[in-house]
């Protein structure tokens, strides 16, 4: 219970940082460690997925971007999805059904990341941004009320992707994070080495599988905590009665 409370507080900080522009602070150089549209009127951070498309279009070798992603990856990797990302928080709040769909669909996020980069290169356009549900929620809708956007074709496409994603979130817990998020795909590359990590003590485990039922990502945390789907939210550690699963931050013990 305490971990959930702490996680909600950190998620709240993620939302506050995401909307910190209401204070009048303009755009900074910081890349956001989550999916948060930089076109949002109140954003002060840069969306890594949006930026990398622009860098591909510009033909820039993205050293700053690569460096920032490695730093975020080594610190917490997909822990940012579970603890910080505002769009992940929305997924969390709408997670009513903890469906356990063990399928290769979760590789879809890597395909979307690849498609995003190839689309930017081939079409010299930020194609993903035009479909991104976070941009729908954080840019299209606010700019409609600010008199910049109109109800036109691109706006309706945004609303359609947002509606479909929200429906998916309601039907399957963490739907976007599981299957579609390209930001999650980038961070997932570092899940194996991140300082924030899960430890499983095989000898203490009774095999009750309450952790499997508790996992919002629908994985078996005992076997897949270093895999690309674990968001290190700690729901499994809270449910584990013999305390065989622990969320730790620091160097990993040699196996």
């Amino acid at each position: 219970m305490r971990m959930t409370t702490g996680r909600r507080a950190v998620q709240g900080m993620g939302v506050v940082l995401g909307l910190f522009g209401v204070t009048g602070i303009g755009m900074t150089h910081i890349l956001f460690p989550g999916l948060h549209c930089y076109a949002c009127p109140w954003a002060i951070t840069v969306c890594p997925v949006g930026l990398v498309q622009n860098l591909v279009i510009f033909g820039t070798v993205p050293f700053f971007w690569v460096g920032a992603m490695i730093v975020y990856g080594v610190v917490a990797a997909r822990g940012f999805c579970g603890w910080f990302c505002p769009f992940g928080t929305l997924n969390d709040l709408l997670s009513f059904r903890r469906a356990r769909i063990r399928s290769s669909l979760s590789y879809g996020k890597f395909l979307i990341l690849l498609g995003t980069l190839v689309g930017a290169w081939a079409l010299t356009d930020t194609i993903f941004c035009k479909l991104c549900p976070a941009a729908s929620l954080e840019a299209s809708l606010p700019y409609l009320f600010l008199g910049v956007a109109k109800v036109n074709g691109p706006f309706l496409i945004h609303m359609a992707t947002l509606g479909a994603t929200l429906l998916g979130m309601v039907l399957i817990a963490r739907f976007w994070c599981r299957y579609l998020c390209p930001m999650g795909a980038i961070l997932a590359l570092f899940n194996r080495v991140s300082l924030l990590h899960l430890e499983w003590n095989r000898t203490e485990c009774t095999g009750c599988e309450t952790c499997v039922d508790a996992c919002p990502m629908g994985i078996d945390p005992r076997q897949e905590h270093d895999g690309h789907n674990c968001i290190k939210c700690g729901a499994c550690t809270e449910s584990c009665v013999p305390d065989s699963l622990k969320l730790r931050c620091g160097p990993r013990k040699a196996k």
Binding site: P41, G50, F63, K130, A149, R252
Partner: protein, 343 residues
């Protein structure tokens, strides 16, 4: 899965490394019209060079230089373009002067298109060779022929002045470290792997900052391009005024000043710039100035081209009424309505 990640990381390292050694490519394409120019010895003829910017960067100081053979030269008049914006195109007319002593028959004339462009603070000078076929006739009866429209695509040659060697070394170090990380991926040495990644990430961040990529990130975030995030569709067609719009513009009797805010990487901005240019060409009472929204943010704030702190492009400001048009959708009609409003 782990093998795939290892291969992906090693490939990323290779890509970063290859970014250091891969020659810089040109960003403009050139087409010479006509492909064969009929001209008489002692006379002159006009060729057109169409230049298209295929990227989101600005090309600067584009100049056409005659590179031979002897007996031919370019007219000393201007054959240059100061700035060609992202995805924009232009045509330069070039007068080829043939001396009376020039050999008759078919000759291949050589031109060099020289221009520069910058990625962050690294600037490149590109020299693109162009070929023009000249059919030289006897001194009488030859007239310029500029009707053919077959172009000759040019292949860019590369010159990269001023690259600082330590950056090349840093490129290589990052690529090497990522390749090492890729090899360590499947092993148990996770602490070594994490340390390798941290060093690679630190070097990459430092190099990115030294290349001002952090400012590029900020600039991309600080300016809202309406067509880039799906607020409207991209306008890449050539701008044109309908007959009724042109007539309405011609009927304007009071002087009007406009500011056109753009960003170099905004794909709809050339459309807005071209449309305002057409309006100004129709009625000399309409004057305008192009404003780079990234460079002149204060001016954008002063004229209300911002929304909740974001500068929005493309935007057209009517200095008389203070009204602002955002975006490029249905811009012709909206612009005419804006011009018709009395201050």
């Amino acid at each position: 899965m782990r093998q795939a990640l290892a291969v992906l990381l090693a490939a990323l390292g290779l890509c970063v490394f290859s970014g250091a050694v891969w020659p810089q490519e040109g960003i403009l394409t050139f087409a010479v019209e006509p492909d064969a120019l009929d001209v008489s010895a002692g006379g002159q003829a006009v060729a057109r060079v169409r230049i298209v910017n295929t990227t989101a960067r600005e090309a600067d100081d584009i100049e056409l230089v005659w590179a031979g053979p002897e007996g031919f030269s370019r007219d000393p008049g201007p054959a240059s373009v100061a700035v060609l914006g992202a995805f924009a195109s232009t045509t330069i007319e070039l007068t080829v002067v043939v001396e009376a002593t020039a050999p008759q028959g078919e000759t291949r004339g050589h031109l060099e298109a020289i221009y520069t462009y910058c990625i962050d603070d690294l600037c490149y000078q590109i020299v693109a060779p162009l070929v023009l076929t000249l059919r030289v006739a006897a001194p009488t009866g030859a007239t310029p022929d500029t009707t053919s429209d077959v172009g000759t695509p040019a292949k860019a040659e590369i010159e990269i002045p001023g690259r600082v060697p330590w950056r090349g070394v840093a490129f290589g170090v990052i690529g090497l470290l990522l390749a090492v990380a890729g090899l360590l991926w499947r092993t148990r040495h996770r602490t070594v792997l994490a340390a390798t990644l941290v060093i690679a990430g630190g070097v990459a961040l430092g190099l990115g900052v030294s290349l001002n990529q952090h400012k590029q990130a900020q600039a991309v975030g600080a300016v809202l391009c309406t067509s880039c995030v799906g607020i409207e569709t991209v306008q890449t067609l050539r701008a044109r005024l309908s007959l009724s719009q042109a007539a309405a513009v011609e009927q304007l009797t009071a002087p009007i000043e406009l500011l056109v805010f753009y960003a170099p990487w905004c794909r709809s901005c050339p459309y807005a710039e071209e449309l305002v240019g057409l309006v100004a060409a129709r009625n000399p009472l309409v004057r305008y100035r192009l404003v780079n929204a990234e460079a002149e943010r204060d001016l954008a704030v002063q004229h209300g081209v911002t929304r909740a702190g974001r500068t929005v492009v493309p935007a057209i400001v009517h200095l008389g009424t203070g009204k602002v048009l955002f975006g490029a959708e249905d811009l012709g009609n909206r612009l005419v309505s804006l011009l018709q409003e009395a201050p």
